[in-house]
Symmetry: C2
Subunit: 315 residues, 2 copies
């Protein structure tokens, strides 16, 4: 097989980092940019990374998705708050036998993408990455970076690994991006929410780092209770997450450096929050199964209030 051509939709802290790594490893990568387009066309992409700094002085940068070549793998690295643009974007950039790789947080995004491109052309990716954008085309990779890849099938049936995710995984590994393959994408999504729901939510609502949330006995308890509600939510999807997994997440967070969550960074930068992907979709999935996750619902309503204030400011 020929080498896969990659499109990166959303060249920010996440898409810019992974895309730059793929290009540096010799792959053919095409970047869609918005506000940073002019700057990146002239100066390329700069990546400061704990694994070694590098600059890509020449990148295939596009301001308009219609000018991009059709690609084998279209990486969706936008914020989910921009996903209403996908139905217009994806048909322009996806090869007939290409696949969309959704590198976003939250639940149910693959279903939305499958509605646009078809059920057999979607892969989910969960990123465990700590990365910021310092300025136009200037990315700071602080820590972590692993991507968990999982094949999407209708109703999130677990279909195990496929050749194509193995091949994409190989490309990522060639780019020194650690890869896990998930046999059950939906389980992996719920597992990631065990961390994302308490820490993303409470860090914004209480203006706190992960360390502050863990140091206080009351928020630590609330974090744990929220994790158990996520587990109850997963159960409504027929997915089992063990108590040991919760213990592991708490322990892992205890040992992390004080961490500003992605939602807290969005909030501090006054960007719309990914409330629906991370909170709304899991809540609704559980509710359809007759389970009301009350504490997550409490956070959801609080975050919707804070998000509306941001959106009002930015109008």
């Amino acid at each position: 097989m020929l080498e896969r051509r990659y499109a990166i939709l959303g060249t920010g802290a996440l898409g810019g980092f992974y895309g730059a790594r793929l290009q540096k490893a010799g792959l053919d990568v095409h970047f869609l940019l918005k506000s940073d387009y002019e700057h990146v066309t002239q100066h390329g992409l700069v990546v400061e990374s704990k694994d070694g700094d590098f600059t890509l002085s020449q990148v295939n940068a596009y301001h308009d998705v219609e000018k991009m070549p059709r690609c084998d793998v279209v990486v969706v690295a936008l914020k989910t708050t921009q996903n209403h643009l996908l139905s217009q974007m994806l048909p322009h950039v996806l090869k007939d036998n290409g696949v969309v790789l959704v590198l976003q947080n939250g639940l149910g995004i693959e279903e939305e993408v499958a509605d646009i491109v078809g059920n057999d052309r979607v892969i989910g990716g969960l990123c465990f990455l700590c990365s910021n954008k310092l300025g136009p085309g200037h990315i700071h990779h602080l820590d972590y970076g692993k991507v968990t890849l999982g094949e999407y099938a209708p109703d999130y049936q677990a279909v195990g690994n496929t050749d194509r995710i193995q091949q994409i995984g190989n490309d990522f590994e060639r780019a020194r991006i650690p890869i896990d393959l998930a046999e059950d994408l939906l389980l992996a999504r719920w597992q990631k929410l065990v961390w994302n729901i308490p820490y993303n939510g409470l860090s914004v609502i209480l203006n706190a780092t992960t360390r502050e949330l863990m140091a206080d006995a009351y928020t630590r308890k609330l974090v744990e209770q929220l994790m158990y509600e996520v587990v109850a939510g997963a159960k409504t999807s027929g997915r089992t997450i063990s108590d040991r997994f919760i213990a592991k997440m708490l322990d892992y967070t205890d040992k992390m450096k004080p961490y500003r969550t992605s939602m807290k960074i969005d909030y501090d930068e006054r960007r719309p929050l990914e409330v629906e992907a991370i909170f709304g979709n899991p809540l609704r999935k559980a509710l359809v199964a007759g389970v009301n996750l009350l504490q997550i619902s409490c956070l959801y309503h609080q975050l919707k209030f804070l998000d509306a204030q941001i959106r009002e400011l930015s109008m």
Copy 2:
């Protein structure tokens, strides 16, 4: 019967206002002060009120509870965060046949006071008052002012009205303070929580006025859901609050001027929050009956975190 002598423990926005009104009506009132003692001794109490401004140039001010005369009615107008002081204070200032009137927010405070002074010497009072302290001995009464009085009996048995609450009610009415008599103190306490729990909690957590909370569809919904949880809590105490009462509270708040709740004022002034009286005690009462009020619990844990930050700052 001779005229009743009043002690006011805690001469702030609430105690100062009611005490000043009682003295202005000719009653014998004795004020306990802390930081404002020197100032009030020299300059008296100044009340700016929507019902008419007045100054009391001479007041019976005390810095030390042991120097106060024993009184017929000891009004507890401290913040509940100061209630650990009551076991030392009350025995000094309460006449043998006197009664303690608890003018505080939250649940279960009368029980704590009864443990100190005896079951037959406690009356509860619920204040619907909007009042701030502008400076030492300087009170600004903005709106409302009604007090609901209710007799306390062990286990909050509803005992109806008694002569003594009627008499105290008469004193308050003489001071132009509107009075209601509650036949069931515990029901009145739970009813007040229907308002206090959502608005006090969310105004602090989300840095919002009542109007902002009502204008946003999501927080409005959360307010309503929290009100229903309070009703579920009341039910565990054998008290019934109707849906109509919730509708009335929502409607009443819609029509209010934008209002900074008492807990929000405390938070903004970096004073310890009354989290245990307003949230912790109702939660524990319901939990003993086997009911976990999950959304109130979520607010409780969030407020404990914010309260700990304040207490750390003020140490």
